[in-house]
Amino acid sequence: MTPPTATLTPPREPVMLTIGRRRMETPTSAPPVQLTALSIKDDEFQIIANLDEAAEGAECSCSAGDDQPY
């Protein structure tokens, strides 16, 4: 039963909205684990025997991915 003290909600007024694209996030400048940029001269190239070594900076130190290898 509706209590006698209840009052009707006043009809809602239309509210002007502006619909736009979500603000774009900008890539953060520095990752939490610093990437090391090895120096290399403009006139040289360096052979990398195992690219895993070069790809290390993208890895996770927590090995969480390794906890789920199956």
Binding site: E25, E44, A55, A58, C60
Partner: protein, 386 residues
Amino acid sequence: MTETNTSAERLTTKTAPRLVASPFLAQYLLVQPGLAAGVRIPEVRYEELRASGAEGRSVPDWLTDAAREAWGTELPSSPVGDIVLVRERSRYGYGKASWEINLGCDYDCEFCYLGEKRFEGLDWAGKQTLLQTLRDAGVLWLQITGGEALIDREFGAAYEYAHQLGMMVQVSSNGSSLRKQPIRDLFARHRPYRLTLSVYGATAETYDKVTRNRGAFNRFLMGLDAAREDRLPVRLNVIVSDDNAHETDAMVRLAKSYGFPHQVFTNMSPTIDGEANPLATQALGHLKARSIFTGCNAGHTFFHVNPHGIASICKVGRDPSVNLITEGVEALPRLGVIAESLQLRTGGCSGCTKVGTCRTCRPLARLYQEAGDRRELYCQHGGYGS
């Protein structure tokens, strides 16, 4: 072969490049898809290749020397564009990604962290869109995983397309389909950077019991035979659970007998939905403490994508996420902000005094907490790691 954003239809008719020159995090690399060796080059030489490709110039002498030295390859004196795909710089700065192409699996391991494994994912057009998005994000190394990746109907097409886009593709698999000729032909055409296979037992009795798939062990061995014959870059993950722990040494011997490098994994984690079931299958006497957590670039330099194109910071911290199919590559930088919030020591880890020696990242700790908070499995306050 300077990369352009042409339509997916046109790209599918292209062949995979012989060499790829690409920015990668804070450096520039020259790689040959499928091979472990590579070449680090200065920015000026990356720019030289980029310009040479656009202007139809021939392979420079230094590139001929580098290819000979790195891979023992003699490059023809062709236009650079015929030999090298020059990946464009990406403003997003990612270098690696993992992608669950499909959660469906032909095995039914009790400890699987995926929980319910449904055969569903993007259609082919969606897969192409996703792979282009990964390219635009700067991804050079892509891990395709599952479920069981090789049984996805469009695995082969997606794998080839990723190569055409200039990615180094790593595949994680249970190896059940590795013996099949179409897969062998695919990997012969485009050698994977790495093929990571899980080992669930050293005998048919144990392996078939763990995977709940009769005949699976024999098919697995046939796959290993094929991989060895085809000289694929296999790594084996020995997975230890309470059902196969008695064969741990035998599994390691199996790996060694094939000459494949291996790692032994003993820690199961809760499912991605926070269910505790996998924890009950751990071989408690074999558990090893993780190394101390020293920080993580999840969401900043790498990310994970599920079968529907939903990207998260990693395989563990899946929520919040961004939808790469509906929002596109522009959504990716939000992962950096999400990562920062997920790494905060909140919830059960608020005010912890042992953060400096913690071995569990915050997203993984949260999964454990949701799954019943057995602190002895992840937290120093429960004795973990002591």
